[in-house]
């Protein structure tokens, strides 16, 4: 590729002059700027008709547009947010019920895995493991709910190893359902060897209500938690379906409550 360096403007310098003066009776005055002398006439429009194929294409697009608009506008209801809703409020695809295990897995990756790691093994000496942890697999969830709600501080023994660190509270960050989901996931993740029962949002709500003054006191310590029975008498029953195969037969070797 090369441009005529003296005249990179015009594809064919002099073409205009030739075109304009075939009879040599006329040429442009030399004192017009050279760029003006060589430029072509101002643009014009041709009158070619549109091809029928293209008109058909436009018509098909309009037809599609009308169909899509009518079908996916939720009946033009101001509060209809689901495009699959038909006019009148009926949906042909009912909202999927919440899968606490899936929601919990997502929350775990976003929220917990930074310390406890995606494989639930924690970091030796820093963050305790959740996989196989006796605190996680306990028959009742009274203690783990409290840990997630208000955090944990000070020394704790998990799977025979000692840890001494600080876990932040999630009380004001996660909802009851989110806490229930993430605990359900952590307790039921069979890939980690955990197989404990699911817990419900009602259970979390009950503990949240019972411990609502806790934030003033600070995070829990292992000693305080051990004083609380694993299964509290006034705890609502879990309503979430337990993960398949989960039973209450998980043996724990936590010290009994005093």
């Amino acid at each position: 590729m090369s441009f005529d360096s003296s005249n990179p403007q015009d594809p064919a310098p002099g073409a205009i002059a030739r075109q304009a003066a075939p009879s040599s009776a006329f040429s442009l005055p030399d004192d017009l700027p050279p760029a003006i002398q060589r430029e072509r006439p101002e643009p014009l429009e041709g009158n070619h008709p549109m091809s029928l194929l293209f008109v058909t294409f436009v018509a098909v697009l309009f037809f599609w547009g009308g169909f899509y608009l009518q079908r996916f506008s939720g009946g033009y209801q101001p509060f209809s947010y689901n495009e699959n809703t038909l006019g009148g409020g009926a949906t042909n695809a009912p909202a999927k019920p919440l899968d606490p295990f899936a929601e919990g897995k997502r929350l775990f990756v976003d929220t917990c895995a930074k310390c406890h790691q995606a494989d639930g093994q924690g970091l030796a000496g820093q963050y305790p493991p959740l996989a196989g942890s006796e605190w996680v697999k306990a028959e009742g969830a009274a203690r783990i709910i409290r840990i997630v709600l208000d955090g944990l501080q000070g020394p704790i023994k998990v799977k025979g190893a000692d840890f001494n660190n600080q876990m932040v509270p999630w009380r004001d960050v996660l909802t009851d359902q989110q806490i229930a989901s993430v605990i359900t996931y952590v307790r039921g993740e069979k890939g980690w060897g955990n197989n404990a029962s699911a817990i419900s949002a009602e259970q979390v709500a009950a503990v949240r209500q019972k411990t609502k003054t806790r934030p003033a006191t600070g995070s829990w310590t292992a000693g305080e938690l051990l004083k609380i029975p694993e299964i509290e008498a006034d705890m609502p029953s879990g309503t979430n379906a337990p993960p398949a195969g989960a039973t209450n037969s998980v043996s724990t070797n936590l010290p009994a409550a005093k």
Partner: protein
């Protein structure tokens, strides 16, 4: 907008039969160019300086994406400030200024009138630049409004709007004094853009900054504005330029008036609704997003229409791309208009948007539209217009070659990998098994390629800047104006009523 050329235009088809007419016409063009010289050059030069500033901030921004610590300790140069500075300098500094220059020149030529009272335009150019400087300093100082495409602080926007009012009013007055009855297709786009931009800019400023609407309506207004700045301001001006320069350089008429009309009116009808496709999955009534998706898909009509019209005009003239820089930039830009728009149609679909939105894919798409299409068309226009304003030829063909190849290959290297990286990023973000940090790491190679592409483009910009400085400096040398006599003669002959 009559469908048949007027008789004076038919005459122009065979100029050899109308020698006197041709001389007068060409003399008038010279006179118009002379009247545009100062204001249009001012917009071009300032625009090019903003382009360099914008490119520098683009490189800093891009580098920070893979090395976040770069300049991280200087509050003025943190990511949250350099990115909007990049966006606003290239949009309001470079692109808008060059677009205004091209619009005024095209408007005068197509209306066959000189630019009257050019000092008003020069004043507007000064105000516009003051507005951009105030806005940029405002953002760097931390006064970013946080509204996408409207980041300039509230004390900068009125300056821009005042300046714009001067320009648009003058454009429309020029149109009012037109001596050409037939309205060429470029004029439709220019006139529409001159009216659309103040509508967008004032509505968005009132509804988002002066008296903000509530809640999610803000995001609807914001996307209506942001998408339409591209669609109803830059796109029409870019298309007006292509519609003018392809026939101008090739010497052939535009293929079909009917396609031109369909392309213009379908753009006017559909583009305005497009912004809502950015709200797929957001808390918006379903119908609002659906209307937007339908309008986005219907944009296929103007895009394909314009593409066919330009292609059939170019057919048989592609060999000219070897020699004409204007045509080469125009055709590259025109082809990318088709690519960017059809890509946009795809991205507007719900199933695609679920994956690609909030990823680098969107950034890549925005650059296809703003750079590969619009900016390249503006470069091509400047290559044609500036020699006519300075009465000098471009000093270096080599620099033009460097400019074209570095920007063209640079933007292709930008678009390809980043589009792919955005899609991979989108799928990874939808997969709950992939931790967020892994998604970030996945994008790093593509972000590095983007920085390399940015450096290549910056080299192209530097070549253009050198050539521009060179031609301007040549223009400062004493120059006898041989056109004066003939201009004085023809002015009276053609339109004695005008001063």
């Amino acid at each position: 907008m009559s469908s048949t050329p007027s008789t004076s235009l038919l005459k122009a088809l065979s100029p050899s039969d109308h020698d006197e007419d041709l001389v007068q016409r060409k003399a008038l063009l010279a006179e118009i160019d002379a009247s545009c010289r100062l204001p249009v050059l001012l917009f071009f030069i300032c625009g090019t300086l903003w382009l360099l500033v914008g490119t520098l901030f683009a490189l800093i921004t891009s580098w920070k994406m893979h090395h976040p610590d770069l300049l991280g300790n200087i509050a003025w140069l943190t990511f949250g400030r350099v990115r909007p500075v990049h966006l606003n300098t290239v949009i309001f500094g470079f692109a808008s200024e060059v677009a205004i220059g091209v619009s005024l020149w095209l408007m005068c030529r197509l209306c066959r009138v000189t630019l009257m009272h050019k000092w008003i335009i020069i004043m507007a150019a000064v105000f516009w630049n003051v507005g951009v400087v105030v806005g940029v300093l405002g953002i760097l100082a931390g006064d970013n409004t946080g509204i996408e495409w409207l980041e300039f602080p509230p004390y900068a926007s009125p300056i821009l709007f005042f300046s714009y009012a001067l320009i648009a009013v003058w454009g429309i007055i020029t149109f009012r004094f037109r001596r050409e009855k037939h309205l060429y297709v470029s004029q439709w786009y220019l006139l529409a853009a001159l009216l659309w931009f103040p509508w967008l800019y004032s509505s968005a400023n009132i509804m988002l900054i002066m008296d903000p609407v509530r809640g999610t309506v803000q995001s609807a207004v914001n996307w209506w504005f942001a998408h339409n700045v591209l669609g109803l301001w830059f796109t029409p001006i870019g298309l007006a330029a292509i519609y003018y320069f392809i026939p101008k350089v090739t010497g052939k008429p535009i293929h079909s008036y009917y396609l031109s009309a369909l392309g213009f009116w379908s753009l006017a009808l559909f583009y305005n609704w497009n912004g809502g496709h950015h709200l797929v999955g957001g808390p918006m009534p379903a119908w609002l997003v659906t209307v937007s998706i339908v309008a986005s898909v219907m944009m296929t009509i103007p895009v394909v229409t314009v593409g066919i019209n330009h292609h059939l005009t170019m057919k048989g003239s592609f060999h000219m791309l070897r020699h004409s820089p204007t045509l080469r930039f125009m055709v590259f830009g025109g082809m990318n208009y088709t690519v960017a728009s059809l890509h946009g149609v795809l991205s507007a679909l719900r199933s695609v948007s679920e994956v690609t939105h909030f990823t680098h894919h969107t950034i890549s798409h925005a650059h296809t539209g703003m750079y590969a299409f619009f900016t390249m068309v503006m470069f091509g226009s400047m290559y044609y217009i500036i020699p006519r304003l300075t009465l000098r030829e471009w000093p270096s063909a080599m620099l033009i070659r460097v400019h074209f190849w570095f920007t063209a290959l640079g933007i292709i290297l930008y678009m390809g990998p980043l589009t792919l990286g955005g899609i991979l990023q989108g799928y990874a973000m939808l997969n709950p098994d992939v931790p967020f940090l892994d998604v970030v790491k996945l994008t790093v190679p593509y972000l590095k390629i983007r920085t390399v592409a940015g450096i290549i483009i910056a080299i192209g910009h530097t070549a253009f800047f050198i050539n521009l400085t060179w031609i301007i400096l040549r223009q400062l040398q004493p120059y006898r104006q041989p056109t004066r006599m003939i201009i004085a003669a023809t002015r009276n002959a053609i339109n004695p009523a005008l001063p």
